[in-house]
């Protein structure tokens, strides 16, 4: 936590440091209005200009200002709404993909036949770059949420299937013999041994899937024929206003990052809680 804060501050220092060394002349308020120059950096780097790298406080101000000239809603409120929208799509895809992966792994672990028959297709499915298919899927399912959920769940199910299958087969053979010696049924072995033993593997995959589902949702929205709302759409819209208001695009990108990190942290918190009595099984 302290580490994250320190990193965040370091990032801010680096950011404003670059602006202090090679940015445009510093002014208070809107630079377009032409306020008085308070400070002139020694160099002029294009990458640190106000257009490329707006001042942190400009982004902050933009968050409080209205999204559009005529509207009351602030950019911050707008982005929170967009993030909730995108987050909902990603979460839906995450759960659908997660359950498909859990189900497939549960079937595969009990049936060599099913595993040998279907596993190659699960692996082959990953040779199709689903993100490259996003425009197509978005088109096929109209402007709705469905297409985006499909992309997000497709990105989720693969890592979950693979990791969960490995997790379900991870118990010590002697633990299985122990269950046999108690005449435990397959059902009991599954719920009392295989499932708990698989959790560390499952969570490792869910952390990957959490980010992937967000990326899937943003890319799905960002395409022509994609969604009207959400962060992906906002990024495209604000991209067109970049020339006049770069801080809006920056704010949208930051919102996307925060959403990704929030998803990741939710899964990680669940992981830490679920594995609290198993030190050493939580990977960093």
């Amino acid at each position: 936590m302290i580490l994250a804060l320190a990193f965040f501050i370091a990032l801010l220092v680096l950011w404003e440091g670059a602006k202090a060394l090679g940015g445009d002349p510093w002014r208070f308020g809107d630079p377009a209005v032409g306020n008085e120059i308070v400070y002139t950096p020694p160099f002029q780097w294009q990458i640190a200009s106000d257009l490329s790298l707006p001042h942190v406080w400009r982004i902050w101000e933009a968050l409080a200002a209205p999204v559009q000239r005529q509207q009351e809603q602030s950019l911050a409120a707008f982005l929170v709404g967009a993030a909730l929208y995108t987050g909902r799509e990603a979460a839906l895809g995450f759960f659908v993909g997660g359950f498909v992966g859990l189900g497939l792994a549960a079937v595969f672990v009990h049936s060599r036949l099913a595993e040998r028959a279907f596993m190659p297709y699960v692996v082959a499915s990953q040779t199709i770059p689903i993100l490259a298919l996003a425009p197509l899927i978005a088109f096929a399912f109209g402007n709705g949420v469905v297409g985006i959920v499909i992309v997000a769940s497709y990105l989720t199910f693969f890592p979950v299937t693979i990791a969960q299958l490995r997790g379900l087969t991870s118990p010590d053979p002697r633990a299985l013999e122990l269950m046999r010696s108690c005449a435990a049924s397959r059902w009991t072995i599954f719920w009392k041994l295989r499932m708990p033993a698989s959790l560390p593997y499952l969570f490792a995959a869910l952390k990957i899937a959490a980010t992937a589902s967000i990326v899937g949702a943003i890319v799905g929205e960002g395409n022509p024929g994609g969604s009207q709302f959400g962060l992906g759409r906002s990024i495209l819209n604000f991209n067109e206003q970049y020339g006049s208001a770069p801080e809006k695009l920056w704010a949208a990108v930051l919102a996307s990052s925060l959403l990704g990190i929030a998803f990741f942290l939710i899964v990680r918190t669940a992981e830490v809680f679920a594995l609290r009595n198993r030190p050493g099984s939580v990977a960093a």
Partner: protein, 289 residues
Amino acid sequence: MTNPSDAPIGPRTDVVTIAGVSKVFDAGAGQTRALETIDLAIAPGEFVSLIGPSGCGKSTLLRLIGDLTEPSAGSVTVNGKPARQARLDRDYGIVFQAPVLFDWRSVEANVALPLEIKGVSGTERDRRVQEMLGLVELRDFAGHYPYQLSGGMQQRVSIARALALQPSILLMDEPFGALDEMTRERMNAEVQRIWQQTGTTVVFVTHSIPEAVFLSSRVVVMSPRPGRIVRVIDVDLPRPRTDDTRETERYFALITEVRETLRGRRDDDPLSKGRVASMPRTLAEGSVG
């Protein structure tokens, strides 16, 4: 609870009857003969150790008794029924070299596992768990998790778990092989106490001659692959055996006897075959299958 006495000779119903059992493993191109025509009978309340060089099939024999693997020939009868039925009736408790505790379960919940599987619930389950934890003297650690315990304590939990269903036979596969010598001797005394308190029949696989002699009513000495019973040695040391027992002459004599049997008498030695035939406890009607 019966009070087990060593080696009661005379008419009885055996807990385990192994008759003409062989085990062949298919390993790729060739076959490995792990066990060859084993005959052995174990009486109620006995403590029987299986000892022999690595790869002599002593663990396989243990697993055959527990129906964790099936014999290629011959039959294993436990409590008068096939081993499979005995397993389904939950007549076994089993302890491995590693504790094999479920690290997501507390000590208490680990001991409760077999009871849960059997469907024992509520207060009865709690009572049995407490009883077992008392038996291995771990009541104070009921809420701890495996990672918080030492190796010896973990093994005690696994013994408590194995005894939770009050099995008529306890199978132990080198349970203290991973422990240091001091802990091992303490655990040996512990196992003797538990055995005397519960009256359970124990089949105990070990590499350690002193351990086998200290614990057992009888020591079954096995030959290298293919595993055969070379000799069965009765251990007539008085119970309860204590640290003082480890310093008696009889103890040393028995250790020497086991060691010499292990070293000298291979299956190509006609002497050992004669001994097998004259063993008091092998079945007369040995050649089934």
